[in-house]
């Protein structure tokens, strides 16, 4: 009887310890969508979850190339590959679309950083920026509301404008992205994570442009590019 109890107890450990890390694919999904989305949109009545894969889109390669070209640096060949799936959450109150929520994985210095943006479906502006996972020496500062609020109101257009301002007119106060500075007290060793977060938000907005907003900020990109050429 004693032995049986011990065996069953061991089974509990076997199951709990060894079965626990059942990791999903490399995509970025909310760990508890119903709860998380309800907390972001208390008036939500339902939500839709669309898995977006470039491999399954007729113009997938073209879209992937757009992502590469507009991100500003190279995509990771392993974790940001053509095959990487993305999940777009559309939040509804009855038939009314309240917002989109979309997340990305970006490789931080000490582990994956998962960034989620809640975006207004009409204006494509960021309403909230949230971390699902962030293992960093600057975790506290980067997670602070004060830092995250810097992203509220931004659109992909602001990042395209920043490309121009950063090269031609760095002091211009119209550069909303340029106004974002590393949070106060951020450990120097966490600076790479700050830069990764900036890249992650840009990547997230770019993917939203591709998946939800039909590249509506493309004129800003073209204008920035032509201005930079001149």
């Amino acid at each position: 009887m004693k032995l049986r109890l011990a065996t069953i107890c061991f089974c509990a450990v076997f199951v709990l310890l060894f079965a626990m890390p059942s990791f999903a694919a490399v995509g970025c999904t909310l760990s508890n969508p119903a709860r998380d989305l309800k907390s972001l949109f208390p008036e939500m009545t339902t939500y839709r979850e669309d898995v977006k894969e470039f491999t399954k889109m007729p113009d997938g390669q073209e879209k992937y190339d757009i992502l590469k070209a507009r991100l500003g640096d190279a995509l990771d060949p392993v974790y940001e590959s053509f095959e990487t799936p993305y999940t777009l959450y559309s939040i509804y109150k009855g038939d009314e679309l309240l917002g989109y929520v979309h997340g990305v994985n970006v490789a931080g210095k000490g582990g994956v950083i998962q960034i989620f943006l809640s975006v207004d479906p009409q204006t494509a502006q960021v309403e909230k920026m949230l971390f699902q996972r962030l293992e960093s020496l600057g975790s506290k500062q980067l997670r602070s509301k004060e830092f995250r609020n810097n992203f509220v109101g931004l659109t992909m257009g602001d990042f395209y404008k920043h490309d121009y301002f950063a090269a031609k007119d760095a002091a211009n106060t119209a550069d909303k992205v340029g106004q974002i500075k590393p949070p106060q007290g951020l450990d120097d060793r966490a600076m790479p994570d700050y830069e990764t977060v900036m890249r992650g938000v840009r990547k997230d907005l770019l993917l939203l442009e591709l998946f939800a907003f039909d590249m509506r900020h493309e004129p800003f990109f073209e204008r920035a590019q032509s201005s930079l050429k001149q």
Partner: protein, 419 residues
């Protein structure tokens, strides 16, 4: 008279009833096959998972480690540890062929979940399993480990045994953390006796190829380094043992020798397998009950369909008998209809079970996550043959009564009752 052709014609003449009856049989067979597949697959999956552990016997600290569940939920500490002198003592046992000490610790993740941001730090808890291993003996125990290669993974190797900042990651944990060879990895560990976690920085020196086992989710670190960062010097979680000869008698003898150490308990992985299988037994019994009910309903359906067919064709049967058909011929004709119904139903059911096995597997994995990584539903050819043969036999038994009723009809009475 071509009985088969005639029976088939009768069935085709009543398509709705025929399809519904076949559907009922198919559903019952599909449930029965899926259950059988689950029985087979689950046992195989458990055996596979245990084989992948590499050892047959484990020695661990005495006391019910159900506390592990508490620590998972509360994010505290609670794993039970045994002194490593148990390892040095057991190592000398003459029956031991190979032995490896393992230290398991849980590194906490910082505020997982977006709620953490909203509630200023009250995020969900999550852990990374850190396995401190003695490299030499561990490699002997699990010789199948190889390093992942390709862009970002080339040059993978085991850590230096004396290193304190090198780790090797299992396939899945590396994928989940987006880590490659040469990357940095942060792990927050609360040392024994401390309150606040300490963040440690490690270098990923290798990523293991997928094994399909629990090893894919673990981060490997030198044993001494693990004991140091968790502040549990000279403590172990598990001692994994491979015996020279593994059978019930040897196991009992071995157990008897080491149960005398007050702090330890000896667990055979065969017992673990048995216990895991019995834990799932209740669910299996419930599914079996559903399958039995489905089979009974299907049998009643077959009897009902054939009886209806007999009643509808009273006149036809009467004329057949009047023009010379014997009782035996009428019986065989009706019986063959039953045979067709059950045979086609069984085949369709088998196909349904094969096609739906993926969905059943996913559902079972969702409802009963019991620590297996391979397929939980294993539908084999012998299982399918058994299902078809059983369905046909049951169907034929169910067809006896309606066939007898038809065979025993008097021609005149039958013709009159059909008017």
């Amino acid at each position: 008279m071509n009985f088969f052709k005639f029976a088939l014609k009768n069935l085709i003449g009543r398509p709705i009833r025929t399809v519904l009856t076949i559907g009922g049989v198919a559903l019952a067979v599909a449930v029965a096959v899926s259950l059988g597949g689950f029985n087979q697959g689950y046992k195989k999956a458990i055996e596979g998972s245990i084989e992948q552990l590499g050892f047959q016997v484990m020695v661990m600290a005495k006391g019910c480690p159900y506390e592990a569940a508490t620590l998972m939920l509360k994010g505290g500490t609670g794993l039970l540890y045994l002194p490593d002198n148990a390892y040095t003592q057991i190592k000398e046992d003459p029956d031991v062929q190979a032995i490896t000490p393992i230290f398991i610790g849980l590194a906490e993740k910082q505020n997982v979940g977006i709620m953490g941001d909203e509630d200023e730090g009250d995020g969900s808890n999550a852990f990374t399993i850190m396995s401190g291993i003695d490299l030499k003996s561990f490699k002997e125990m699990k010789p199948w480990f190889t390093f992942k290669t390709g862009e970002g993974y080339d040059g993978g190797r085991w850590f230096d045994e004396n290193a304190t900042d090198e780790i090797v990651m299992g396939y899945e944990v590396a994928e989940y953390e987006n880590r490659k060879v040469g990357d940095t990895f942060y792990a927050s560990v609360t040392p024994n006796g401390a309150v606040e976690p300490v963040m440690h920085e490690f270098k990923v020196v290798g990523v293991l190829e997928r094994t399909g086992s629990q090893d894919d989710g673990s981060v490997y670190i030198p044993l001494k380094a693990a004991q140091t960062i968790f502040n549990r010097p000279n403590e172990l979680t598990i001692v994994g043992i491979k015996l020279k000869e593994f059978n019930g008698i040897r196991m009992r003898e071995f157990e008897g020798r080491w149960l005398r150490i007050p702090e330890v308990q000896v667990v055979s992985l065969q017992q673990v397998k048995g216990a895991l299988i019995s834990l799932i037994g209740t669910a299996q019994i419930m599914i079996a009950a559903v399958a039995i009910i489905a089979v009974i309903v299907a049998i009643i359906g077959v009897i009902n369909a054939i009886m209806m067919s007999v009643f509808e064709r009273m006149g036809e049967i009467g004329i057949m008998k009047a023009v010379g058909a014997s009782r035996k011929q009428v019986f065989i004709l009706i019986w063959i209809e039953t045979l067709f119904l059950t045979l086609i139903g069984a085949i369709v059911g088998c196909l349904l079970a094969i096609v739906g096995s993926g969905a059943v597997d996913t559902a079972l994995r969702y409802l009963l996550n019991m620590g297996v990584t391979t397929d939980m539903v294993d539908i084999t050819l012998p299982l399918l043959v058994l299902a078809v043969v059983s369905a046909v036999i049951l169907g034929l038994l169910a067809g006896i009564w309606p066939s007898l009723r038809a065979a025993n009809l008097r021609p005149v009475q039958a013709i009159r009752s059909s008017e």
